[in-house]
C-alpha cells in the first residue's frame, strides 16, 4: 500500500512539474472535438447529437492512449523502471499506483473535454453530470487498468507507443460498448439502467485482478 501511494505521489508530482502529458492530451481531445464538429454535416442537430456519446468516448479513448503511452516513457529514461521492479512489494501495487495516477490525469482531461463537447454540440449536461461522472469513471478505470498494464509491455518494444493501441484494442472494445451504451442512455433519457454499470464493474474488476496477478512478469527485465 505504501508503495502504491509512493508511486501515485511520484507520478502526479512529475506530471505537475512538466505538465506535458496533460497538456498534450487536452490539446488532442479538443482538436478531436473541433474536427468532429466540422466533419459532421450541419453542426449540432438532433441527428448529430445522437452520435455525441460515441464521439465523446472516441475522444476519451484516444486521449487515454496518448497519456498511457507516455506514462512509462519517463520510467525508461534513466532505467528508473528497475527501481520499481526491485521494490520489496508485490509489483501489482506499483502498477496500481500508476493506474490511479493515469486515471486522475485522464479524468481532468475528460472533464474539460466534456465541457467543450457540451458547448460544441449545444447540449446541457448539468442534469446528468453526476451520473456521467460515474459512468466515465468506471469506463476510464477499465481503460487505464488494462492500458497501464500494456503500456509497461509496449514501451519495451520497438514500436513503443504505437504498439499500445494494438495491444489494448481487444480489451477496450467491451468497455466501449458498455460505456457508450450507458452514456447514450444518460444523454437521451437522463437515466441509465443498472445493466451496463454492472458490466463495467465486472470488466474493471477482471482487468484489475488480472493485471495485478500478471504484473510480476511484466516488470521483469
Amino acid at each position: 500500500m505504501n508503495a502504491l501511494l509512493a508511486v501515485l505521489w511520484k507520478d502526479l508530482l512529475t506530471e505537475w512539474r512538466s505538465r506535458d502529458r496533460a497538456v498534450a492530451m487536452l490539446l488532442f481531445s479538443m482538436l478531436m472535438v473541433v474536427i468532429f464538429h466540422f466533419s459532421l454535416p450541419g453542426g449540432a442537430t438532433t441527428e448529430t447529437r445522437a452520435y455525441a456519446p460515441g464521439l465523446l468516448w472516441v475522444a476519451y479513448v484516444f486521449a487515454a492512449l496518448l497519456g498511457l503511452g507516455r506514462s512509462f516513457a519517463i520510467e525508461l529514461e534513466n532505467d528508473a523502471i528497475e527501481g520499481l521492479a526491485r521494490a520489496p512489494v508485490d509489483r501489482g501495487w506499483v502498477l496500481l499506483g500508476k493506474t490511479i495516477a493515469n486515471l486522475l490525469i485522464l479524468g481532468f482531461v475528460q472533464a474539460v473535454t466534456a465541457c467543450i463537447f457540451a458547448l460544441v454540440f449545444e447540449m446541457d449536461l448539468t442534469p446528468v453530470a453526476l451520473e456521467l461522472i460515474g459512468v466515465v469513471a468506471l469506463g476510464s478505470l477499465g481503460l487505464c487498468s488494462v492500458g497501464t498494464f500494456f503500456a509497461a509491455v509496449a514501451v519495451r518494444t520497438r514500436l513503443r507507443e504505437v504498439m499500445l493501441p494494438l495491444l489494448a484494442l481487444p480489451f477496450y472494445t467491451p468497455v466501449l460498448v458498455a460505456a457508450s451504451r450507458a452514456t447514450t442512455a444518460l444523454f437521451e433519457t437522463g437515466s441509465v439502467s443498472f445493466e451496463p454499470i454492472q458490466f463495467l464493474i465486472v470488466i474493471d474488476a477482471s482487468y484489475l485482478i488480472a493485471s495485478f496477478i500478471l504484473s510480476d512478469f511484466v516488470l521483469d527485465e
Binding site: A6, V7, L13, R17, E77, D79, E82, R86, V89
Partner: protein, 235 residues
Amino acid sequence: MTAVIARELEKRFGSTIGLDRIDLEIPTGSTMAILGPNGAGKSTLLRLIAGLARPSSGSLEVGGESAHHRTARARVGFIGHATGLYPELTARENLIFAARLRGVANPGARAEEQLAEAGLTRAADRRTGGFSRGMAQRLSIAVGLIDEPEIVLLDEPFTGLDRTASDRLVERLMGLRQSDRTLVLVSHDVTLAARLADAAVVLRRGRIAHRESGDRLDPTTLEDAYSAASERDVA
C-alpha cells in the same frame, strides 16, 4: 549464514548462454569482487541477485529466499549502470520516493542524511535533470543505499566519478564493510577490487574461470586471470 547462494545457476538469452551453471557462495558481511571482460556475465549475475530477472534454471538464494521474491528484494540494494533518477524531481524528492517505495520509516529524515553523506545538500532542491554526471552518480548511489540494505550490489560504480568523488566512494564502501554489510562489486579495476574485497571471482563467458579468497587478495594473480579471461579463443 550465507547471504547469497548460487547453485547450478544458469541464465539463457534465447540460444546464448549468459551464465553457465555458476556455483557461488557469498558469506554475510564479506565483500566479493566480480571481475571479467565485457560479455562475461558479470552484470547478468548481479541483476539476477537483485531480483530484476529470473534464472533460466538452477537456484539463487538471497538470505534464504529465492532472489526474485519480494522478501529477498527487500534486503538488496542495487546500484547499476543507469542512474534510475527522475529528471523532473529534485534530488531530495528522488530520495524520498525511493525511501517510501522501499518502506523506510522516516523518509524525510533519511533523505537528509543521505544528501549530507553524498555531499549534495546544497543541490537538494534542484531538479536532477540538470545534474552533472558525477552528481547524478553520487545521488544514484545515495538512492541505492536509502533503505540501508543488508546486501549491496554495485555495478561499476566508479564510472564517471572524478578523483574526489572516487575517493569518497571508496571511503563509503569501507564504511559499509565495517558495518557488516555484504557487498558485491563488479569492476574493471583489479587493484581496487583487490584492495576492497575479501574474495573475488573472474568470469569468462558465463563461467567462473578463477576464484580467490583470503585476507589479502593478490592483484597480480587477479590481473593475470583477468587477462587470461579476456583472450579470445584460438581457433
